[in-house]
Symmetry: C2
Subunit: 337 residues, 2 copies
Amino acid sequence: MAAVAPRRQPTLDEVAERAGVSRSAASRVINNAPHVSRATRDAVEKAVKELGYLPNRTARALATRQTGIVALAVPDDDPQLFADPFFAQVIVGVSAALEDTDLHLLLCLASSGRGRARLTKLLQTRGVDGILLVALRGDDPLTDIVRRAGVPAVYGGRPLHFEPEWYVDSDNVGGARLATEHLIGLGRTRIVSITGQMCTEAGAARHRGYREAMVIAGLSPHGTAEGDFTEAGGAAAMKTLLDEHPDLDAVFAANDNMAAGALRVLGGSGRSVPGDVAVVGFDDLGIAERTEPPLTTVHQSIQGLGKEMTRLLIGVIAGQERSSIILPTRLVLRESA
Amino acid sequence: MAAVAPRRQPTLDEVAERAGVSRSAASRVINNAPHVSRATRDAVEKAVKELGYLPNRTARALATRQTGIVALAVPDDDPQLFADPFFAQVIVGVSAALEDTDLHLLLCLASSGRGRARLTKLLQTRGVDGILLVALRGDDPLTDIVRRAGVPAVYGGRPLHFEPEWYVDSDNVGGARLATEHLIGLGRTRIVSITGQMCTEAGAARHRGYREAMVIAGLSPHGTAEGDFTEAGGAAAMKTLLDEHPDLDAVFAANDNMAAGALRVLGGSGRSVPGDVAVVGFDDLGIAERTEPPLTTVHQSIQGLGKEMTRLLIGVIAGQERSSIILPTRLVLRESA
DNA sequence: ACGATGGCTGGGAGCGCTTCCAGCGACAGT
DNA sequence: ACTGTCGCTGGAAGCGCTCCCAGCCATCGT
C-alpha cells in the first residue's frame, strides 16, 4: 500500500535542495525546458520521485497567468432544460477534448441574474482561461458579459444577429437541404416544413436549407408552420398544416421532437407514414430511434460539437490563428422516409 | 455603453496607491476585516470603484490556500450513462447550493483510467478545495484516490461496504418500506420484489425496506428477482416472477425504469394494473409520469441530494463539525397502485 | 595564444494577494 | 506627568511557482 497522504505537499524548493540544485534548475526539469544537463535532470527526477512532488497548480497559475481551467456556460438552469441530453452530450465532447491536456472544466449554470453575476465575476477575476458558450439566444446577456470580460470565447451554434469571432456550428442549412432533397428524390412534391423558432439561428438556417432545396428542384414550398422545437409544438404545427394542405405528401421537421409530434398527429389523421406522408427530422439525439415508425433524420454530432469547440478554444488561448468551424451533417435513413 | 475591457486588471497595489494607503489597509477593506477607519474605508472604496478593481482569484488562492473550487466527480463518461437525468439533477442541486457562495463547480468525468489520472493529479496538486462524489460502486477506485489525496469529500449515496466519513443519502430503506406498506394497505398479500443490483447500497437497502415491511405485516416475501435498474432488466425480472408466482398481486420495483419494464410485461400477460396487479416504483425522475398507467412511486429529491451534499462539503471545508445526512423520501400516488 | 561561442547554472525579481507584527498617536486612568 | 490600553497603520514576509539574466566553464576556430 502506498503511503498516507502527506500532511503538506513538498515544494519545489525542497526538491531543489534535496537534489542539490537551484530552484530554477529544478523548475526547468519539471517543465522539461532546455538547458538542463543529464546529471541535473536525473538528480531532480530522483528527488521528485522520493518526495512525491507535484507542482502546486495555483502557484503555477499565478506565475504563468494561466489557470488551466475553461468554463462551459449553460444559459439555463431550469432542471428540465438542462436535463436535455444535448448538454450531456456537449459535456462529454468537451471532456473528451480536454482529456489529454492539463485543462479542467468548470460548469456554470448561468441563467438567473445571480448565476450571471457569478460568471461575470469569475471572468473578471481571471478565474478561467477561456469560455465555451452553447445554445445562446441572440440577445442573451451572456454575449455581452463575455465580450466585456475580454476572455477567449468559443460559441456552439451562432446566436442570431451576431457572428462571434469564433464558433463551431453544425451545417444546418446543408443538413436541411439533404433532408429535403431526400424527400424530393423519393418523388414527393407537396413537401411542407415545420420550423423551429425563426428567432434562432438553427431555426432560420434549417428553414433556409429546406427552401433552397425546393427552389433548386423547381418546386415551390408547399406550406410552412412555425413550431418551437418541442413535441407539442410540432404536433400543433402539423395540425395546422394538415388543415391548410390536406394533400401534403411529405414533411420536413426542423428537429426530432417536432417530428415526433407530427408523426403522432399524422397517425391520428389516419395517414400512414411513410406510405401517405414521408417525414424527416433533424438532430438524431435518441428519440429518433424510438418513434413509430423510427425516424429518418439528419444527424449532427453534439459530442463532436463540444469536442471541436474545445479544440478551437485551446488554440485561441494558445494565441494561434484559428477560424470558426462548420461541422458536417448526414442523413440517417430509418423508416419514416 | 460601458468601457471596453481594460487591457490589464488593476492590482491591489494600484488601488492602495490611488487611495493613498498601504496595501495591507486596502486588503483589509476588500475583505472587510476589522481595524479600518472610516476614512481609509471610504478612500479605498472610492479607488476600487474608479479603477474597477476586482481581486485576482489566483493570487488570493495562493495566499489563502483555498482555490474556491469544488469538484464533482462522475464515475461514468459513457454518454448514455451521463445523459441520465440523475446527473443533471445533481448538478442543478449543487449549483443552487453554490449560488450564494464564491465557490465554483468543476466537473470531472472520471471513469476511464485517463480521467481518473487527471482527477488524481487535480486533487494532489491542490486544484480544488473539496470533492463531491456520486453514484459510486463500492469498489470504485475513486474512493481510494480521494482518500489518499486527503481532500474533503462528500459522497452522494453510500458505496456498499464502505461508510464514508461524510455522505448524503436518500432514505432508501424507509422509502421501500413506505412503498411496500402502501401495497399492504391496499390489501395485497402476494407482493414480489424486483431488486436493483444487490451489489449496490441502494439496491440492497431498498430490498431490505421491502422485507422489513413484509415481516412487520406478518407476511412472507412472496418472490424476488434481481434486475439491474434498467427497463429491460425489470421486464426480464417480471417475466421470471410471473412464471414462478403466477398468483402475485403486487410488485415493488426498486426503481422506475424497472417498474416501467414490469408494467409492459404485465400488460403483455393480460393482467391489468392496478386491477390484477398493483405496482410501485422508486425514484420519481420523470418516467414515472409517462408510463401507462402512471406510476405510483417513491419520490426522492436528487436536486436536494446535490444541494445537501454541497452544503455539507462547504461546512467540512470550513472545518466545522458536521455529520452525514439521510434525506427523507415520500410516496407519490398515481394510478399503478 | 586569443576571443568567440554556447550549454548550463543559480540568483533574484516577479505574479497579486494575505497576514503577522511592530509601531504609531490618542485617550483614559492613576 | 507617566503608564497602559486600544484602534489603526504600513512594512515586510510569506504563498509556490516561472523566467530573465548575468556569470561560469568548456569547447571551438583562428
